[in-house]
């Protein structure tokens, strides 16, 4: 009922005004604090995500360097996995945190990395590397 000509019309409209005024005030306050909070979380998440990606890139580059010198050092299966990781890191949209593909790419990178490390019997994980127990830790 938009048009309330009865005596309650005015009070309903007034309540609406208070509601809107409060909303506006709250929105402004929330907008200011939300930006700072988000920035803080973004800084942390960005660093952690970047670290993981850079870490994969470093490993891949070293493995590729070894393969160039000694092409038979790794099995073809492992080499294939390394190549797949290479492509995934390259196509990861690092500057687009809102890109919908990032979760899938990161998940797939972790799986391949784990498979390579298991096959080659490597202990490469650094202190802070997302634990296998909670793979959802970094996802948002």
């Amino acid at each position: 009922m938009d048009h309330q000509d009865d005596i309650f019309g005015a009070s309903v409209n007034l309540e609406d005004t208070h509601l809107k005024d409060g909303y506006q005030e709250g929105y402004e306050a929330g907008f200011a604090s939300g930006k700072d909070d988000g920035h803080e979380v973004g800084l942390k998440t960005g660093f952690i995500t970047g670290e993981e990606l850079g870490f994969y890139r470093g490993c891949i580059d070293v493995w590729n360097s070894v393969i160039r010198v000694e092409p038979t050092c790794f099995t073809t299966r492992v080499q294939k996995k390394i190549k797949e990781m290479d492509e995934l890191v390259s196509k990861y949209p690092i500057m687009e945190p809102e890109n919908e593909t990032v979760t899938d790419i990161m998940g797939s990178l972790r799986l391949k990395f784990r498979a390579i490390c298991a096959t080659l019997n490597l202990k490469l994980e650094y202190n802070g590397y997302p634990k296998a127990a909670d793979p959802n830790e970094i996802q948002f």
Binding site: K20, A29, K35, L120, Y126
Partner: protein
């Protein structure tokens, strides 16, 4: 005649009073004479009583309005606060993310290269790093990096950020602890031609993968 009318009118009031207070007839008479003196006084009293009631009622209403105003205002405020936070949090997150992700990447790259080298068999490592000196340097870099967890690195990064805020105006990122690790890696990789590392092009905000021709 007025008096009798008054008596009739106020007999209900007068009688219980008399009963309650056991008042004598003179008292009743006195009161009657008072009543009879001026009807205006009665009117005055009535109007005064009436205005008093209105005042009470209006202040009640006022209080009620204030209460409702406060109530609706705070309901709106709460909803607005959440909506405002939500609207800007993603924006702030994106800004922060883009600010730090490449710093983290450069740092992680050092972790990856030194870590993977450290895990290679001595034979394979010898094939891509010739000089023993470089091998030792790589190993030392690995050791000092491996002592630092991601949390430690985040703290270092945070220190760098606050330092940069203090020394605002100096745009160069040199002198930061994290960056010094990255520079060490760069110089070590230069010493080892067999190791090819895809460093990020610092002049560009995008990764230089050398594979994507769409990136200029």
């Amino acid at each position: 005649m007025e008096r009798s009318i008054a008596d009739e009118l106020y007999s209900d009031i007068g009688e219980p009073k008399a009963e309650l207070g056991q008042t004598s007839n003179t008292d009743v008479k006195e009161s009657h004479s008072l009543d009879g003196k001026d009807d205006e006084w009665c009117e005055d009293e009535l109007s005064w009583n009436g205005s008093d009631g209105e005042l009470d009622r209006s202040s009640d209403l006022d209080r009620e309005w204030q209460r409702r105003k406060k109530q609706f205002h705070s309901i709106g405020y709460r909803d607005g606060l959440l909506a405002g936070k939500e609207a800007s949090a993603q924006e702030g997150f994106n800004v922060g993310f883009k600010e730090s992700v490449l710093v983290g990447y450069d740092w992680g790259l050092v972790r990856g290269v030194t870590g993977a080298l450290n895990c290679l068999s001595g034979e394979l490592r010898g094939k891509i790093i010739e000089s023993q000196e470089t091998k030792t340097k790589f190993h030392n870099l690995y050791e000092s990096m491996n002592n630092l967890s991601t949390t430690d690195a985040l703290k270092l990064y945070n220190n760098d950020l606050s330092k940069r805020r203090v020394e605002e105006g100096k745009q160069n990122s040199d002198g930061s602890v994290l960056d010094s690790y990255h520079q060490q890696l760069r110089s070590l990789v230069l010493e080892s031609p067999a190791i090819e590392v895809q460093f990020r092009d610092k002049s560009n905000a995008v990764l230089s993968t050398g594979q994507d021709p769409s990136l200029e």
